[in-house]
Symmetry: C2
Subunit: 347 residues, 2 copies
């Protein structure tokens, strides 16, 4: 049954009285600052077919760490037989020049990977637990039941507590749909988020962020709003983050929908590097592109702390490092700030 | 000074109570039906460097006309010396198989082009007048003043009346910004729309649609909402249409912002064909991609009347016709409907 809600909307002042009431809400609900978690190096290098020289990985990471990005996920500690592109994870971590104020992170899927990350002594180690919302994906790709998945994450949470590692983030993979299962119901995701909060709670932790991942690019702006709204309603007080893929071209539209819902944490990849090698796509595009996202934020008055021109240079470097074109748009079309500066210089 | 507005928001019923008030407005303001004006053949063939054989142009247009698209702009009648790719405009129009219910349109910029279009006797002839919002672009590219531009459009409107052609559409080019001038103020666009309405009015016509074109990809979702809202406020009763370019990756996010404002007319290009050859871009991406737009609408429950799978086949044909990859995403990532059907067949 529809319910009626009364809202007080502040119509922003401005040079034009452009708002017809309903739309004022969109404008005023945009966040003032967006936190970007750069995942290009990890997602990208893992996804590329050829082996990329360690020195070139380090070159890109070092360049990224000078753009103003504060969180960069640089490697994953996974089985080198399964993911040969990440066999040099330790060398990459060892080789980078640590930039003050930048948190360099790694990804691990089990205790062995976690121990490897810990042993580098150079990474920003925070606990993360996650559940995949697709039962078919669990079964077909990992031969696991939801119960076993849950037990596995419980064991990881227990491990974090024993090591004194803060459990910061809870993630739901395939939160919007899955190529092996189809649409994922909102109620299932809500149940899984509750399970993550329970697992963290059992270890005396409370999750700072809940991450919703559109792992296989099933989301649209409308389903972003639906799921984000549902999670915000039920789990108020937790920040949400979005992990978006651009496989069906919805990446930035979905990010915008998230911004309108007040989401202020996004994972993204410079130049649009990456893509899930296990998702069964023929034309898997990567994550939503960092510099395109930063451009959108910049132009809408949302701060990111990132220097767009420096990031565009990194995107071009990323293309050079992987040796083929990458999907990012702004690195090809150019920023508007740069154009405005040129026009001002001429005038 | 900010003003306070009280809104009554209907929270739609649904399987989940996902809405937290503010966001209900977004969902409920989406249009039920979106009218797509396919411009791929005209924008694309004009933009491509090599000459595309006439038969292949016809092949793509004939395929597009069987997808459910109701408006297809297929050629432009311009100076063949300046745009050699359109020298065969008459042959293309002559060669296509007219599909009932499909309006095939052409573009012209002056009376000579208009006479050529009329002479084909196969096109859907409607009058359109337009003004470019960038005074610098007018000066540098066309050596015209705003006054001369206005006089030119007035003459065209007069010509339409004399020929008994309905003036259906008024367009503003570079409505969001220009590479030669920078940002375009909302007030200037409002003034130009008024001029278009006046010109039409002088001929006893009233414009059915006002088209706002982001000719050089300066728009963001926020500026779309601002300008669309301003035009809606000042010129209620006229449908708006959006012509969007994807040069900086904002195409679909901008389309979504338009949808949220209730815009239900969009120009787009199959596979993302096209781009303005005079816009001074180094990496000019084309128009927003038709099948990606249709996918977004489909998945959000907005009807377009277009068969997405047939359109995806056209996008792949377009790549074959131009002989290189095109930017569309869904033709690579695949539709979700197709995936759902496969999953249902297995289950």
């Amino acid at each position: 049954m529809p319910t009626t809600v009364w809202l007080e909307v502040q119509s922003p002042s401005g040079p034009t009285n452009f708002l017809n009431g309903l739309k004022a809400t969109d404008v005023t609900s945009l966040p003032k600052f967006v936190h970007i978690n750069e995942e290009g190096p990890r997602e990208g290098f893992q996804f590329e077919k050829g082996i990329i020289p360690t020195a070139r990985k380090i070159e890109l990471i070092d360049a990224l760490s000078k753009t103003g990005l504060r969180h960069i996920q640089i490697v994953s500690f996974v089985n080198p037989k399964l993911v040969p592109g990440m066999a040099d994870a330790e060398q990459v971590v060892e080789g980078i020049t640590l930039q003050p104020g930048v948190a360099y992170a790694g990804l691990w899927l089990n205790d062995k990977g976690f121990e490897r990350a810990l042993a580098t002594r150079r990474l920003h180690i925070r606990g993360s637990i996650s559940l995949n919302a697709s039962e078919k994906f669990l079964k077909l790709n990992q031969n696991r039941t939801p119960e076993r998945q849950l037990a596995g994450q419980r064991a990881i949470a227990e491990m974090y507590r024993q090591k004194g590692i803060e459990i910061e983030r809870g993630g739901i993979a395939a939160a919007f749909g899955c190529n092996f299962e189809g649409d994922v119901p909102v109620q299932r995701v809500l149940g899984l988020v509750q399970q993550l909060l329970d697992i963290a709670g059992e270890q005396g932790a409370s999750l700072k962020r809940i991450s919703l991942a559109d792992t296989m690019a099933w989301a649209t702006p409308l389903s972003i709003k639906r799921l984000v709204g549902a999670v915000q309603d039920r789990f108020a007080g937790h920040h949400l983050s979005l992990h978006l893929h651009d496989t069906r071209g919805m990446g930035l539209a979905n990010a915008y929908a998230g911004l309108e819902m007040g989401v202020s944490y996004f994972d993204s990849s410079v130049a649009g590097l990456g893509g899930c090698p296990f998702a069964g796509h023929t034309g898997a595009a990567g994550n939503v592109c960092t510099e395109d996202l930063v451009f959108m934020c910049d132009e809408m008055g949302i701060e990111t702390g990132v220097d767009l021109e420096a990031l565009i240079a990194c995107a071009r470097l990323a293309e050079d490092v992987v040796g083929h074109p990458l999907p990012g748009s702004v690195m090809k079309g150019g920023s508007l700030r740069r154009l405005r500066e040129k026009l001002a210089a001429v005038a």
